[in-house]
């Protein structure tokens, strides 16, 4: 399931919903992305996430299906927030459940790598020393490229 929302979410609740299903789950991996306190040495005041409504949901749906094709998953969830956030606020949550722990780990990392470079979100940071759009990292491109060659 995917959700794009401005509201916060509860990690424990989301994991509980997934684990309480009538499925033979062996392990659940989760990754939560947080707004950092500092960007280099600048204190972050706010981070505002802009996205492309419509396209975001389509892209998230697509990549969730891709993860479910590549790995044997019992369930998966992507929640991505947009709007104005503060340091320590949660930005994104990815949960993957599988009978095999490797499948849960790998698919969760795959989804996060993908979100970093392929989900239409942009981050505006307001820091002590002014505002700027967060630049994409070329290291993130490299991470996501690995998955196109890597076997499951």
């Amino acid at each position: 399931m995917i959700r794009v929302q401005s509201e916060d979410f509860d990690i424990g609740d989301e994991i509980a919903i997934i684990s309480n299903q009538k499925k033979n789950i062996g392990g659940i991996c989760s990754f939560t992305g947080l707004v950092r306190e500092f960007d280099l040495n600048n204190k972050i005041q706010t981070m505002t996430l802009e996205h492309y409504p419509g396209m975001t949901e389509k892209q998230l749906d697509k990549i969730e299906k891709e993860a479910n094709n590549r790995w044997e998953l019992s369930d998966s969830l992507i929640i991505h927030r947009y709007g104005r956030l503060k340091p320590k606020d949660k930005i994104v949550l990815v949960i993957t459940a599988s009978i095999h722990r490797k499948a849960a780990f790998e698919s969760c990392e795959f989804l996060m790598d993908w979100l970093k470079t392929k989900a239409p979100f942009w981050k505006m940071e307001e820091t002590d020393s002014g505002s700027h759009w967060v630049a994409a990292k070329s290291s993130d491109d490299l991470e996501v490229e690995k998955w196109s060659t890597k076997k499951k």
Partner: protein, 83 residues
């Protein structure tokens, strides 16, 4: 044709979307970028460095050689930074 702008494109253009009448010779993304770039100085700055431009046509990321027509929804934005 409907054009959407996000992030620094929206900010610099001062608008989040516009409707343009597509000249008949602007048949793919590259030609559209060049056409936009030629409109004025501001556009020229934004649309010159192709490395910093990402384009979606009908909500799918595409390459610059993708063909477009006036019914398409085209969006311009910088490299994405989700997650």
């Amino acid at each position: 044709m409907r054009i959407l702008y996000f992030a620094n494109f929206r900010e610099k253009m001062g608008l989040s979307e516009e409707i343009i009448i597509l000249p008949s010779n602007v048949s793919n993304v590259r030609l559209l970028v060049e056409w936009l770039s030629a409109r004025n100085e501001l556009s020229s700055t934004l649309f010159t460095d192709h490395e910093l431009i990402r384009v979606a046509v009908n909500q799918e990321i595409v390459e610059f050689d993708t063909e477009i027509n006036s019914d398409d929804e085209v969006a311009f934005f910088p490299p994405m930074t989700g997650g």
